[in-house]
């Protein structure tokens, strides 16, 4: 085998990963899976697609070894096959945000305040949360919180927020986060909190971004 054929073979393998992440729906599935393992049912519902289409996309992702499946009773649970896959999603999205003007303007229009964090801000937020100066709330479904969450964050799912407002302090800053920059749950939470007189703001980070930045998550 000559040099060219060898090279072609190598790049072809990497392109398998590229092909797997070349579909919007598959990217959405990856982001959802970055929040923890899910069943096909849950994934299809979350992504707004037919369960059979979800199954087909998952098959592609599995063939590229980006996800793995494990049967759990009557269900089959899918999960990312490693933290590096989560990091790849963050990397792809970051490159897109950085270079694609269309994405920039779309995000500016949807999310009024971006609240991107750098390494310094992340550490200082964690410090303030540890000292109780701010309250960090995780507004994702509690199952995703259980899989892993920001240190010192408490679980307060968006669906339960309205009923549990009294658990929050009115005299301290509240910081909400959800799945990441594309997720709208934290924005909705902040809107609701401000309506009720709380001092609330959101951050763009989710657990994948936190992890990709080399910071630790908390479990349970």
């Amino acid at each position: 085998m000559n040099k060219r054929q060898t090279k072609d073979l190598l790049y072809e393998q990497v392109a398998r990963i590229g092909k797997a992440v070349s579909s919007p729906k598959r990217l959405e599935l990856l982001e959802i899976l970055a929040q923890g393992e899910k069943t096909v049912d849950a994934l299809a519902a979350e992504a707004g697609i037919d369960i059979r289409l979800a199954s087909a996309h998952l098959k592609v992702l599995k063939a590229a070894r980006l996800v793995e499946a494990q049967r759990d009773g009557r269900f089959i649970a899918y999960r990312l096959s490693g933290d590096d896959v989560s990091a790849l999603w963050v990397n792809l999205r970051t490159v897109a945000e950085e270079h694609l003007v269309e994405l920039k303007v779309a995000m500016d229009r949807i999310f009024a305040a971006p609240e991107k964090l750098d390494a310094e801000t992340r550490r200082s937020l964690m410090e303030k949360a540890r000292r109780g100066e701010v309250v960090v709330i995780d507004v994702r479904p509690s199952a995703e919180y259980d899989t892993g969450h920001l240190p010192f964050a408490r679980s307060l799912p968006l669906t339960e927020l309205k009923q549990r407002l009294k658990e929050l302090p009115a005299d301290r800053d509240i910081v909400a986060y959800c799945r990441g920059p594309f997720c709208m749950m934290s924005a909705e939470a902040v809107a609701l909190l401000r309506e009720h007189g709380f001092r609330a703001q959101k951050i763009a980070d989710g657990t994948p971004e936190w992890l990709a930045a080399g910071l630790p998550l908390a479990e349970s």
Copy 2:
């Protein structure tokens, strides 16, 4: 616009990046461009494709804003549009190496000794090179060396190596590197050096890997 349409729009933008990196040839072009800017001619020759096909692929990469073009006299030079693109290439290749068994066995077969480096080894290598305990040689074309190279590395292109063997010490370890894990130039250099009695070994890193690891490059 409802929530679903909004989400679809966001993921669609990220998928533009995914589509751009879903072709083996485009990935090869990206890796070549990660070594420094090149003309269409040079890229086509390096990747072993027709100049018109290279032009078409570059058009796709430009549409995804992964590369930029600049006219320089009669030539048009292409370059990556940022270090994050180089990091994306490293990330994609790493995920592929980590998860795709086919790629693992192919690389084991081609490159006998992988010589992957971790953060610790990288720093210690740089230290030893600084103290002159080892000689680090960059066997890429000198133009690529000029764009950026590992600190304390000296340029010794593979094409000139045979004629310049007397410049190398016979009593010290020689470490060769080239474009990265997929590049075969350092392996060829090591084979040639050992034939002539030198103590030589290669490392898998190229400048993109060095950069992605957060380490500095040297210029000039």
